[in-house]
Symmetry: C2
Subunit: 148 residues, 2 copies
Amino acid sequence: MNEQLKLDNQVCFPIYALSREIIGLYRTELEVLDITYPQYLVLLVLWEDGTQTVNQIGEKLKLDSGTLTPLLKRLEVKGIVSRCRCSADERVVHIALTEKGAVMEQMAAGIPERVMKMSGISQESLDQLKEMLASVMGQMCAFRKKEL
Amino acid sequence: MNEQLKLDNQVCFPIYALSREIIGLYRTELEVLDITYPQYLVLLVLWEDGTQTVNQIGEKLKLDSGTLTPLLKRLEVKGIVSRCRCSADERVVHIALTEKGAVMEQMAAGIPERVMKMSGISQESLDQLKEMLASVMGQMCAFRKKEL
DNA sequence: TAAAATTAAATTGTACACAATATAATTTGA
DNA sequence: TCAAATTATATTGTGTACAATTTAATTTTA
């Protein structure tokens, strides 16, 4: 059979599998906060950069309004963020942390370290992996821009 | 703010983002075959190993019956696989390629190479990444086993 | 400046993921 | 041997992803 089609020779499958595996580790930690991993990513953005438009969040997380709108509505229902139309430009919706959402940052502070401990991956491998991923993402983005 | 919570310091987010990015590249290629990326993964398993039970596919792709059952039904509706209860053990369902499903292997033969070309990632980086991912997955699995 | 183009979110529809539970068949063990 | 435990798949329900379309507001430009 074609070597290229063997599961072990795929590059994307291990990325996809590892992604789901690590998100699974986050799940245990995040269910204490009653949020999902994509919701947690939105909070990382808000904790770091403050109030953002839906578009700004989408650019940072590479997610579109079809994903974000319902997700943000769920965070609003939980009382973690507020959503309000920009008065200067009625097309735009500003997403802000509520007090509850802001306080959650303290509770989340230890999560990344605990998840990495749970993974059993050495610090050295984590550092290498992070560097590798940045390089690969960089190559993809550079190539994509060149295509235009 | 807590350095650990900055988006740029996350390990999981770039994995998750890269996974979606590359699957997006596959999408263009796979829509010619009228299948999704997870459906393509199931076909990789069947092309490589022949008829499999739902469980065997699930172990190889780390997916459960909640994901696989409906996915396999969709592949059945498309005429790509057949599903039939094992006569020796009525709990088991065997998933086999139809003739159409088998023929599709030829059409898929060039996909991995084309997708990697489209990504703009150098061969060297791809090889390094693949090795890195295998190592990291190995560490995770070894650690998980040790936990029991 | 009014129509055309663009932009930002929202909506619709399909397809995963996955936890939790259900169902049915097979194995185990008292 | 038959009730209890286990196993394999299916079902249910929630929450992403993402393409395609819609809606409404703003900018551009003829």
